[in-house]
């Protein structure tokens, strides 16, 4: 049987969810017998093929216009989209900046932090993505088929979700696999 194709990408992240995915440890040997991992931010190929993949995983919240495009691209190219981690599912820690004006946030980050040398400016290059006023969860910008919350989600939850999907079932997270922290 043809392997299930999978890709992942990250938005406003800390990469904790990627670390948690890798925490499936030696189970990855079993995984790659059934799943072909086409592209991830931590492997050679960074983008899924235009023909699309079966499963797309997004981590992180949608904070700037570039991340919105990434989310839309993955949604388009994945038959089933998984939002992995509290930031992708709820907006997570990233939403802390929703209480402040983006200019306040940029000034704090680039000018005012205690360890920043004086005389710095907020970078304004047109190549840098623009912050949205509010950070959003992935399901606020595209349709999401499966949510796996957690900060990060336990490796067991990720493993369970993938193996349930491979068995043709919709995973339902309960007990220790469902966590918001």
């Amino acid at each position: 049987m043809a392997k299930v194709t999978l890709c992942s990408d990250w938005l406003d992240i800390c990469s904790g969810c990627e670390m948690s995915l890798l925490d499936i440890d030696e189970r990855i040997v079993e995984l790659i017998k059934h799943v072909q991992i086409l592209s991830t931010p931590v492997t050679d190929l960074k983008h899924p093929p235009k023909e699309g993949v079966d499963v797309g995983i997004l981590t992180g919240a949608v904070s700037n216009d570039h991340q919105l495009k990434v989310a839309q691209m993955i949604r388009e190219r994945a038959k089933l989209l998984i939002a992995l981690g509290d930031c992708a599912v709820f907006g997570g820690i990233c939403t802390m900046r929703n209480f402040f004006d983006t200019e306040e946030v940029l000034r704090r980050a680039y000018v005012e932090t205690e360890s920043t040398a004086p005389g710095q400016e907020v970078p304004r290059s047109c190549e840098i993505a623009k912050l949205f006023p509010q950070v959003r969860a992935v399901n606020q910008v595209v349709n999401v088929d499966l949510h796996i919350p957690g900060c990060p989600p336990p490796a067991d939850a990720i493993w369970y979700a993938i193996t349930e999907l491979l068995a043709g079932r919709i995973p339902v997270l309960t007990d220790d696999l469902l966590t918001y922290d």
């Binding site: 509290d86 939403t95 309960t174 469902l178 918001y180």
Partner: protein, 568 residues
């Protein structure tokens, strides 16, 4: 009221008429989830989590307030109910800023538990991210409004259980906020930091500085014990992790406090900044130790104390604080010389029944400030004033913590004015401490039907009195042995006596306030570290149970070893 027959989730039974569906469900063994409900507080149907399907009702009804009726059939987990419950949870989570990943309540949060129970794994509504404050103006605990679900348990507890009524609400709808007094910072309000609101808060809104992030429900153990910091002897639950007490809670199931404790019992030991006594200290001449005190072995220290006490013979004197257990008191009786109480005690006062305060229509407080000591008794009086129309007559000079609840306040020499009012009362009560014994006697003579509530100073004062340890009297003792426990202050009489004495040894939990006075300091376990019995103000013997293990010698053990050496 006559029983009615109800059926809840296929469980049929007869339940008392007039109770709520929630109470009936509990009687029949059906679990209906709740958030704003609390067994000690009257229900208000605020959170809507307990909505259930009642046959023949047009809409779902909140089980916590809906009364049962004959033949009622209730479904508590039907598809309609589950939909509604998930909807309510979605609304609760969407309204404010609920971040489990950095909340100290994660793992112990009633809101989170419900979300897990109903399998919520994403939010369906956009969130407004209101900018809400954190009030950290109180010494021991803070309030983060971002996590508040407006269940009003804190407001109701402060009003109904403590009688303080500090908390309330401002604005309406999504702008509703819990406030203190007329919207002042909690630390500047009429709040007495009893922490009852903290104890009943279902979410991480109210958090105490000692136990935050120190362990969630699955990681902690609870030990039932008794507080011995005053003579009321409130039942407490000590929350322990890794051999440390991280939090003290009132035990809802014990008398006389029924779940309430005061700021002192809840916080003072956890936040005490004094240096703990960990090993014996002996004053040595010409040394560089602090106050001349240097570490010594137990043998050295005990031998020295024993020798001094034995040599002083009849001129030795043992002073025992109410912080000591009855077992320690019994042992201390075998030391040479006189035995005395550290705290003042009244003569011939009989144990009080604190329930009298919950039935009284007039309470005369003779002199004491019940917002300083014996606060839980003060709560009972405040409840009576706020909810039963009880009248508080304060006979005190100067500012008193219960001034705002007093019907009248007079100086103690105008007791006859209080008597005139109390004479007309159905259930008058006189509350007094040892310092006001004479005034209380005067009142008691004028009001023979009044119940008398004597609140001994110190924790186990009645237990010590039962061991025939008499009130402190200045004498010509030359060697003193003080079993001080956690005592913070030295009574002026005792201080004078200790300064005059030739030799002073103290068995204490903390170095302060004994450093300048003691020739020998012996470490004593803290309240949380010892097991023993105490007799509370109601005359009942209750147990202090050690919640943590310590390598320190047990409190009575130190005394026993001392006695063994004095008899050599």
């Amino acid at each position: 009221m006559a029983n009615v027959n109800v059926t809840i989730d296929e469980k049929a039974g007869a339940v008392p008429g007039g109770i709520t569906v929630l109470e009936a469900a509990r009687l029949l063994g059906v679990d209906i989830p709740t958030l704003c409900d609390h067994p000690a507080i009257a229900p208000i149907g605020a959170c809507r989590i307990c909505l259930v399907e009642v046959e023949n009702q047009r809409v779902l009804q909140p089980a916590c307030t809906f009364p049962v009726s004959e033949g009622m059939t209730v479904h508590t987990e039907s598809p309609k109910v589950l939909d509604a419950r998930r909807f309510v949870l979605q609304l609760l989570f969407s309204e404010r800023n609920h971040y489990c990943m950095f909340c100290q309540m994660s793992g112990s949060c009633e809101l989170q538990n419900l979300a897990y129970r109903y399998g919520l794994n994403h939010w369906i509504f956009d969130r407004p991210f209101p900018r809400l404050p954190v009030d950290a103006s109180r010494d021991f605990f803070a309030m983060d409004h971002n996590r508040c679900i407006l269940c009003r348990r804190c407001i109701r507890a402060c009003d109904q259980l403590v009688g303080n009524g500090t908390l309330g609400l401002k604005h309406r709808g999504a702008s509703t906020m819990v406030i203190a007094d007329m919207d002042v910072p909690f630390g500047e309000s009429s709040c007495v930091s009893c922490g009852t609101c903290l104890q009943v808060c279902p979410t991480g809104t109210l958090m105490d500085r000692a136990s935050a992030y120190m362990g969630a429900t699955k990681e902690i153990t609870r030990v039932t014990s008794t507080c011995n910091l005053c003579s009321i002897g409130c039942g407490v639950e000590l929350v322990v992790r890794g051999n440390r007490v991280i939090r003290v809670e009132g035990d809802w199931d014990t008398e006389p406090n029924k779940g309430l404790i005061c700021e002192i019992g809840r916080f003072h030991l956890l936040f005490d900044k004094r240096a703990r006594m960990r090993q014996p200290l002996v004053k040595a001449l010409g040394t560089t130790g602090q106050d001349g005190l240097v570490a010594a072995s137990w043998d050295e220290a005990l031998d020295k104390v024993a020798a001094e006490l034995a040599a002083a013979g009849a001129k030795a004197c043992t002073v025992v604080s109410g912080y000591a257990s009855s077992e320690t008191a019994a042992a201390a009786c075998q030391l040479p010389g006189d035995k005395m109480l550290m705290e003042p005690a009244a003569n011939g006062a009989s144990p009080a029944c604190l329930d009298a305060l919950d039935e009284a229509d007039v309470v005369i407080v003779a002199g004491s400030d019940l917002a300083e000591n014996h606060q839980v008794a003060g709560f009972a009086i405040k409840r009576g004033v706020r909810h039963r129309g009880a009248r508080l007559l304060l006979l005190a000079k100067g500012k008193n913590g219960l001034d705002d609840w007093a019907y009248h306040k007079w100086a103690p020499d105008q007791a006859d004015k209080a008597v005139a009012i109390a004479r007309e009362a159905q259930a008058p009560v006189i509350v007094y401490t040892a310092d006001n014994e004479a005034l209380a006697a005067q009142l008691g003579a004028a009001l023979p039907d009044a119940k008398r509530v004597y609140l001994p100073a110190g924790g186990n004062t009645l237990g010590l009195a039962a061991a025939n340890i008499a009130a402190f009297q200045a004498n010509d003792a030359t060697a003193y042995y003080v079993v001080a426990g956690e005592a913070k202050e030295i009574p002026p009489d005792l201080r004078v006596a200790l300064e005059k004495a030739r030799f002073v040894a103290v068995q204490a939990s903390f170095r302060e306030p004994w450093e300048g006075l003691a020739d020998v300091l012996l470490p004593s376990p803290l309240l949380f570290e010892k097991t023993g019995s105490v007799t509370n103000a109601e005359g009942r013997t209750v147990q202090i149970v050690a919640a943590v293990k310590t390598s320190l010698k047990a409190e009575d053990q130190v005394v026993k070893e001392l006695i063994a050496r004095t008899h050599r």
